[in-house]
């Protein structure tokens, strides 16, 4: 970025006209759909469905437009393509690389004086999308290699029944200490396959995340990082990996964090509780662990002009339980309570740090229609949508959501089977959302007054 462009952003940030929103979420939480739907809501010319977003409801919103990114090296978020996918009834493909989007919003001020002074006000939003797998690398910054390898090895040991994991462990144990380029490459590839297999099994805590989604680092020696048996804490392979770990943290994780997370003003943490419930007790506890670890990586605190310029802090956090459209509405409350209970610790911390928090059950793109069926015990609310596996129309009651973290015993006797539907269009051939306007009001309402 050249100096004038930086100075411009500096000035805009001083006037609170440049806001960075961080959409945080593990892979599969629905970040891409959330960004696409959010941008669609802010840029579409049709009458938006946003009764809870003050600036739109009061008719003061003029419009939003996509702008070229300040950092031209970064890929642009493929908004139009993703939107087209949704309108054609498909989910956008999962994110492979980092991308950014800059949006300029114009609105009339609600203040009489400000409205007299200028015809319109404007604000710039900077939104970044990235593969959710990378996010899980952030806790590595506060870890030592010994801790990391023990933790990652334990995850492998827990998945020994998976063939790819067994293959990696066998290769690792065949010759513990030999270090040569060929062997490290082979072990890296095997570990990569093991990680992918574990991901298929619904395992969440997978590090290093870059190995799962290498993007531009594919084949780079930086990614040669895999865990060892913690019983052996000496030897050439151990010291090689120790260096690799350090290099990975310094050259991959730190820049990623510095560039996209250190400067956030507002944050959305998307959580797919339903997917984790489907995957079982281990997935749910891992999700909770991951979220707790993640919440420690960000700077939270009240907004101030000095902080905004030199040391940005996140002044508002929205915890969003995504995919709430896969539930009948009476279960939204349970979903909220479950998320709240999972995140009790970070929520308390953020309140202590004077950061505003909100918890919502939302759906970026509604994929099911609510209806009723007559059963023997009276009318029963149910959902209808097209299943993601085969596109067939399916009518079902998706089941209840527990209002607190379910114990392992509950998983043993109860199977959670929340469906996965394809996006659905409404009567105007547009996608509809659930509570996205409330999310916007919380995130931006105070800036668009």
């Amino acid at each position: 970025m050249d100096v004038p462009a930086k100075a411009k952003i500096f000035g805009q940030r001083l006037l609170q006209q440049h806001v960075r929103i961080g959409i945080t979420g593990l892979s599969g939480a629905g970040k891409t759909a959330f960004i696409t739907s959010l941008v669609n809501l802010l840029t579409q010319d049709a009458e938006p469905q946003a009764a809870f977003f003050d600036v739109m409801q009061q008719g003061r919103f003029i419009g939003g437009q996509l702008q070229p990114n300040a950092n031209l090296q970064l890929a642009r978020f493929p908004f139009e393509f993703n939107l087209q996918q949704i309108l054609q009834g498909r989910w956008p493909a999962s994110t492979e690389q980092i991308s950014q989007l800059t949006l300029e919003l114009r609105y009339h001020s609600g203040h009489v004086l400000r409205r007299r002074l200028s015809q319109y006000q404007s604000i710039r939003l900077e939104i970044t999308d990235y593969p959710g797998e990378w996010l899980l690398d952030l806790p590595m910054l506060s870890q030592e290699f010994a801790d990391w390898t023990a933790q990652a090895y334990a995850a492998l040991a827990a998945n020994q029944h998976v063939p790819a994991v067994a293959a990696y462990l066998a290769a690792l144990h065949s010759d513990q200490q030999a270090v040569d380029a060929l062997r490290t490459r082979m072990l890296t590839d095997l570990y990569q396959q093991a990680l992918r297999a574990m991901k298929q099994q619904g395992w969440l805590a997978l590090q290093p995340g870059r190995l799962l989604r290498p993007a531009e680092l594919a084949g780079s020696p930086l990614l040669e990082l895999f865990p060892l048996d913690p019983a052996i804490a000496v030897g050439p392979l151990y010291s090689f990996l120790q260096q690799q770990f350090k290099a990975y943290c310094q050259q991959v994780v730190t820049p990623f964090y510095q560039q996209y997370f250190a400067g956030l003003d507002r944050q959305v943490i998307l959580v797919d509780c339903l997917g984790a419930l489907n995957d079982g007790f281990a997935a749910l506890t891992q999700l909770q662990q991951a979220l707790l670890q993640l919440a420690e990586q960000f700077r939270y605190g009240p907004d101030s002009w000095f902080g905004r310029l030199f040391k940005p802090r996140i002044s508002k956090v929205l915890f969003a339980a995504s995919k709430a459209d896969l539930l009948t509405p009476d279960q939204h409350r349970n979903l909220l309570l479950l998320l709240q209970q999972m995140l009790r610790q970070p929520l308390y911390q953020q309140q202590y740090q004077l950061c505003q928090t909100e918890v919502l059950a939302l759906a970026s793109v509604v994929s099911a229609q609510l209806g009723q069926v007559q059963t023997a015990s009276g009318p029963q609310a149910c959902l209808q949508g097209r299943l993601q596996q085969n596109g067939e129309l399916c009518t079902l009651y998706p089941g209840d959501v527990p209002i607190s973290m379910p114990s392992e015993a509950i998983f043993a006797q109860h199977r959670f089977e929340f469906p996965k539907f394809l996006p659905m269009l409404n009567g105007k051939q547009q996608s509809s959302h659930l509570r996205l306007d409330q999310a916007l009001q919380f995130l931006l309402g105070d800036l668009l007054q």
Partner: protein, 339 residues
């Protein structure tokens, strides 16, 4: 997925599949344009059983003095009835024409009396419905429940049958009760509020001008009370509540009480604290100052009435009254310039 009905062993219902034929779609907001607007007459309205709670304090012990009064009133009505009957009977005896006239008078009078009683009863019932609605709204707003708001919304819509925004309002079945109410407030009540506030501003301005130019103190008093009563009536019409004269008087009384006991500090701030207002009103004559005061009083009453007529209580105190003093003074100054 199982076809077995729910087994609440751990309190959680399992997923359950149904056939496509069984599915009946809820009217979603998306399709709301296609479903015809439905209006309800007040007669078709049936309150749910829990809504008709006996109002506390209504059946308080009647004192002996109260009994005496009631007996006296009852006897007087009875005597008047007997007297009237005798008068009609005597009229018939004297002259058929006179008798016919007396009977006609009785029928007309009785009809009018019945009509006004019925009207009063209907209005009273509407006002009661409003009270119930307000109490329920308060409960719904603080709950995270789902599915209770539908009946509330239908009754609120029944109150606001003249309001197109209300009759076309369709609840989003995906939202919770508190959200439904918030949506109703945003999409329906806000426009009503704006209209009512416009009325209040008009009434305040008119009162202010009239008091400023009228020379008689007694005329001022009559003017202010007349304008207050009509204002309350107009605001009530906007919110679908028609008050009897008696109820209007009760409202004004409640307002005065609120002014004395609770609102006095606010009023003092309004009157004295507004630096701009004080500075401006010092430039005006004493009469004009009185006009501003009277206008302010009417405006306060108007805002109070809005607060009382809204089916949902104000979630945030309005800031509209702050600008009012300057507004009124400016209106006065403008009218003086044009004179």
């Amino acid at each position: 997925m199982t076809d077995v009905p729910t087994e609440p062993a751990n309190g959680l219902r399992s997923a359950e599949r149904f056939s496509e034929q069984q599915f009946v779609a809820m009217d979603s907001p998306v399709l709301s344009a296609l479903t015809p607007a439905q209006q309800y007459t007040p007669d078709s309205f049936v309150s749910p059983p829990e809504a008709t709670k006996p109002v506390a304090g209504q059946s308080t012990a009647v004192t002996t003095v109260g009994w005496v009064w009631w007996t006296a009133a009852g006897l007087a009505v009875l005597l008047a009835g007997v007297q009237w009957y005798q008068f009609v009977a005597e009229s018939w005896l004297q002259n058929a024409l006179q008798g016919a006239a007396a009977t006609g008078l009785t029928l007309c009078g009785g009809g009018l009396l019945l009509r006004s009683l019925l009207k009063g009863w209907l209005q009273r019932r509407r006002a009661k419905q409003l009270d119930v609605l307000r109490a329920e709204a308060k409960q719904l707003q603080s709950s995270l429940q789902y599915g209770q708001a539908q009946s509330w919304l239908e009754r609120a819509k029944a109150l606001l049958t003249d309001e197109p925004a209300a009759t076309t309002f369709n609840a989003d079945p995906l939202l919770s009760d508190a959200e439904q109410l918030a949506l109703f407030e945003r999409l329906v009540l806000q426009s009503l509020d704006q209209r009512a506030q416009q009325l209040v501003r008009q009434a305040a301005g008119q009162t202010c001008l009239a008091v400023a130019v009228s020379p008689l103190a007694l005329a001022d008093l009559a003017l202010v009370s007349w304008r207050s009563i009509t204002l309350v009536n107009q605001i009530g019409e906007i919110y679908g509540v028609r008050l009897t004269l008696w109820q209007r008087a009760v409202l004004v009384k409640a307002f005065l009480q609120a002014l004395f006991w609770a609102g006095s500090t606010e009023l003092a701030i309004d009157l004295a604290g507004d630096a701009l207002g004080a500075e401006l009103s010092s430039k005006l004559s004493a009469r004009a100052g009185q006009g501003v005061l009277a206008g302010l009083l009417v405006a306060r009453l108007g805002y109070y009435a809005i607060g009382q007529f809204r089916p949902i209580r104000y979630s945030t105190p309005d800031s509209g009254s702050k600008l009012l003093i300057t507004d009124l003074v400016q209106q006065l100054l403008k009218s003086r310039k044009t004179d």
